[in-house]
């Protein structure tokens, strides 16, 4: 059975659709240049659950829930739902933790890097250069036989766990249960966490993106990796389409504000923008997918991708609790230390996880 989304045209259509939906989500209330940011939104979920106490970034983001459930439904309908796992889960967990630490030093995942660029935030350029560099190092490892080993087929029901977890988060969002005086669940009263599109619009966009991204295999890390490793421009044509569509929409909606200084939820600390994203890029490359892709994979039954996503959520807690997440003022006190520890970890994983030659 042919999959129209797997074609070149298909991936471009998906990129355009994501670019349009992300900028519309901003128009409807999501934070500026953050229509969809997988890292930021997982961080907001961590905050809502009380895993960190940064009061301005706490909200159960329906987009993340939609990504997983949309991919789950699409995979079911296409008969691609296939529970598998067991490929070095604990290493993937820590790759997720450090990917988040790096992303929160830059203040965004690769998706947000594109959206920041499309909004005129030129700081995204150093972030993207870092991302490409980190992925480049990951490619060197892949070329020299890096592998976390094979995943095994798992029982049919195991793949339901992550989608059910997401459905549980949705219930917490809808009913806004207060577990103790003052929370959790925490919901930001000001700051980025308080800025969000109406629930059903966010959820609907999330479901749609989840479904079409599952069908098209959209992946920002894979896009750069395939260009560097294989000279394959398939995935990157989708990412380029996202950038162009988001830029066009921002111009139409008056959301394009070019410059380095004073960009929303961003800083101009170029060194740490670069190194933060370099860490994330390497972690994504070693784990085999960008944060968005990991969510879509966990929707179709990939337990290892689910572990990576859990690592990112916990990593957000670590990042904020231990003063590693940047603010618009710049890198935080322990951000550089977190990035260095993460780079050492990723290099150790890259050098030690090899199949025999």
């Amino acid at each position: 059975m042919a999959n129209p989304f797997a074609s070149r045209t298909g991936i471009i259509v998906v990129g355009v659709a994501i670019g349009i939906m992300a900028t519309l989500l901003q128009y409807f209330g999501n934070p500026p240049n953050m229509g969809i940011c997988v890292a930021c939104f997982e961080r907001d979920i961590a905050g809502a659950l009380g895993l960190h106490r940064a009061a301005v970034v706490q909200y159960i983001r329906p987009e993340i829930i939609g990504f997983v459930l949309g991919a789950f439904i699409a995979a079911m309908l296409a008969r691609e739902y296939r529970p598998r796992g067991g490929s070095a889960p604990l290493i993937r967990f820590f790759l997720g933790v450090f990917a988040m630490i790096g992303a929160l030093v830059f203040l965004g995942c690769p998706w947000r890097a594109m959206l920041r660029l499309a909004g005129g935030d030129w700081n995204a350029l150093t972030g993207l250069a870092g991302l490409a560099s980190g992925i480049g190092v990951g490619v060197l490892f892949l070329k020299s036989g890096y592998s976390l080993g094979r995943a095994q087929t798992q029982k049919a029901a195991t793949g339901f766990l992550f989608p059910v977890f997401m459905a549980g988060l949705f219930l917490l969002l809808v009913f806004q249960v207060t577990f103790a005086e003052g929370g959790p669940i925490f919901f930001s009263q000001k700051g980025p966490g308080s800025q969000h599109a109406p629930l059903l619009i966010s959820l609907g966009a999330g479901l749609l993106v989840g479904a079409i991204a599952q069908r098209s295999r959209f992946c920002t890390m894979g896009a750069l990796r395939d260009v560097i490793l294989l000279r394959d421009f398939h995935l990157i044509s989708g990412v380029a389409a996202l950038l162009v569509a988001a830029l066009a929409m921002n111009l139409i909606l008056g959301q394009f504000k070019p410059g380095f200084a004073g960009q929303p939820i961003a800083h101009a600390d170029h060194l740490w923008n670069f190194l933060g994203m370099a860490l994330s890029g390497m972690a994504f490359a070693l784990a085999g997918g960008c944060p968005g892709r990991q969510l879509f994979l966990s929707g179709e039954g990939d337990l290892d991708a689910g572990i990576f996503a859990m690592g990112m959520i916990i990593g957000a807690g670590v990042s904020h609790n231990f003063a590693m997440a940047s603010s618009p003022a710049g890198a935080a006190a322990f951000g550089p230390a977190g990035v260095i520890v993460g780079l050492v970890f990723c290099l150790a994983v890259g050098f030690t996880m090899r199949e025999r030659a």
Binding site: Q152, R217, R225
Partner: protein, 70 residues
């Protein structure tokens, strides 16, 4: 000469493509690539197409076998 067989089952992206590319790069004229999911199949087929090689696909139980020839 029997066909070279690449077992890429259970491997995550992009390892099936890397292993197939290595075999093609080593000058193998005919090879069989074993994968267990649609994404790996699409990726390996795209690689073979870029090398202008002929492909055919059949299923073996739960696995997908991609035959690639010069």
């Amino acid at each position: 000469m029997s066909a070279t067989r690449v077992d890429a089952r259970g491997l995550s992206c992009p390892q099936p493509v890397v292993l197939t590319g290595k075999a093609i790069g080593a000058g193998v004229e005919s090879l069989e690539v074993l994968v267990d999911n649609e994404v790996s199949k699409e990726n390996v087929l795209r690689l073979a197409k870029r090398h202008k090689m002929q492909t055919s696909v059949h299923e073996e139980g739960p696995d997908i076998v991609i035959d690639i020839k010069k």
